[in-house]
């Protein structure tokens, strides 16, 4: 049985559950620097599906591909601590402000550079946008089939893969040829924890930008252990049409951003006493709202 080459697409996302006032910039894009950054939850579900294939087929390799600012290298390391083999950080100011289409274009060009892959697995959607668009858009750009809403990979062999899709009102079992792109939902198994051995091994894995702040003694480490080098690709490292990148390469534009203003109604304030609750319930019954 053959080993697989898997690319996991992962995104570092602002934790939208903890958003402060300075979260948005004047141009309507997200000020990521002001927010706590986490591994997008469904991308962790995706990583687990990849790791299970690796458990089953020794020799399988998992590469984490992410696009983002320098600090997004964190999630490549996080993936390596859990069992991924390596990763690529796609980072350049030219990518800033990309909508989903410009993002998927950039990612598809990076995948084309990686060249050899059997499976591309990513989360169904990221919590900062909830669009679920980048997976299918990448698949289309690479002219490969896609299977979205994957809950579980059931079996795989040299030519095909079978999986269960979780839809709103049911499930589908589908068989797809390889290569194929899968998007994994949050109902899939949670990702395994960090592995102590990998944590020790990859603790010092860094991109070249991160290494610039290290002292000289450390540098030999990266020479002796090449697996600690996390490749960092700029716009010059991938073959791209620059017009399809970034804010200007994005067909969708943010016209305006409104802060949420609540139009306060005159709410009737009630305390939790029996008398007040009984009065409210009587009112609702009398008005035939209930009953």
């Amino acid at each position: 049985m053959k080993a697989f080459k898997i690319i996991v697409l992962a995104k570092q996302v602002p934790d939208t559950r903890n958003v402060g006032k300075d979260a948005m910039k004047a141009d309507g894009t997200v000020n990521r620097a002001a927010l706590p950054a986490i591994f997008n939850p469904e991308d962790l579900n995706a990583l687990e599906q990849a790791l299970r294939i690796k458990d089953q087929f020794p020799g399988t390799t998992i590469t984490i591909l992410t696009m983002g600012p320098g600090r997004a290298a964190d999630i490549i390391r996080e993936g390596m601590f859990r069992g991924a083999d390596d990763g690529v950080l796609l980072t350049d100011r030219a990518f800033a402000g990309s909508d989903t289409l410009a993002t998927s274009y950039a990612i598809s060009r990076a995948i084309a550079k990686i060249k050899e892959y059997d499976l591309i697995i990513c989360g169904r959607q990221a919590i900062d946008g909830d669009t679920a668009q980048v997976g299918p858009q990448v698949a289309e750009k690479l002219n490969m089939p896609q299977v979205t809403y994957v809950e579980e990979i059931i079996q795989a062999d040299n030519k095909s893969i079978q999986m269960k899709r979780r839809l709103d009102n049911g499930v589908e079992i589908v068989k797809a040829p390889i290569p194929v792109l899968l998007t994994v939902t949050s109902s899939a198994s949670a990702c395994r924890a960090r592995n102590a051995k990998f944590l020790m091994k990859y603790k010092h894995a860094k991109t070249i930008s991160e290494r610039q702040s290290e002292n000289e003694d450390y540098m030999s480490l990266y020479h002796d252990r090449p697996y600690l080098n996390i490749p960092e690709w700029s716009v010059n490292d991938v073959e791209v049409d620059p017009q399809q990148l970034g804010l200007s390469g994005s067909p969708t534009k943010v016209k305006k951003i409104d802060n949420v203003v609540l139009q306060a109604k005159e709410a009737k304030k009630i305390d939790a006493s029996d008398a007040e609750i009984n009065l409210l319930m009587k009112e609702l019954i009398d008005s035939h709202t209930i009953g």
Binding site: D130, N169, T252, D258, K265
Partner: protein
Amino acid sequence: MNNIFVYCEIEDGIIADVSLELLTKGRSLADQLACKLEAVVIGSKLDEIGKQVFPYGVDVLHVADDPRLAPYTTLPHTSIIVNLFKAEKPQIALMGASPVGRDLGPRVSSALYSGLTADCTSLEIGGHEDKKENKVYENLLYQIRPAFGGNIIATIINPECRPQMATVREGVMKKEIRSANYKGEIKKIDVASMVSPADFAIEIIERHIEKRKVNLGAASVIVAGGYGMGSKENFGLLYQLAEVLGGEVGASRAAVDAGFTEHERQIGQTGVTVRPKLYIACGISGQIQHRAGMEGSAQIIAINNDPGAPINSIADYVINGDVTDVIPKMIKYYKANSK
């Protein structure tokens, strides 16, 4: 040419509600833009499908009828839509933000290099001035959606690329028949010329689609719980109240994420949109994504012990108290006093 297109989803020969809602919205946008509304149905055994579609004010119905096209799979439906849009050049294309629309929409937008906005809560027509480029646009589609944890409402436009594509969730738009006798024209799509054998690379081996168990859209009373319910056990109280009142139980995303109840009960921008006669929000703070899914409710009661909760400002009644104290009192009074 340059009309509004709606991709209609179909299951067991029935057009999905979300598609009929989009046809209704598409009709009013078409009236505003003085263009035609066109629908696309792709599936199998569609001889009678016009009857379901035309009453919503559809001027042209494109039908791709082939046994291989049902149930939905990504590639053949994508090929047909992409080819059709290349030929017809719609200015606007709408799809449901359902598993089908969210699988198909991005694929089509990528192939046509056109922008797509997911999960819109409102669609309007308006102009735009690009001062940098010194360009003025008229009659663009404003794709309006909460963004970024619901702290903002973003208006998205696609000034240059066509079609302007958007997805909308079920229940967000209203479904309304234009005229039972509305006359439209059927155009048959030549399927063989648009799909290739490679499009059938994915094989559906098994399929179990159930009728929906929870029908929040039809409930006249909804008892919804949030993270403030504290536990799955406390969520049980909501089922009791809902049962007594003849209603359904809903939940905020935070409650679903915390595992208090199942995903199909989620109300809000990324869940279901509801407009019941009475909405009882228990331990729900009321972030905008949640409010987007329930603010059309006729009456809203908020029960929580946070006087600053955003939900309070859209509520008709605010009960300041502990849900585990208040709900049993409501059940007790109702049981004793309803007929």
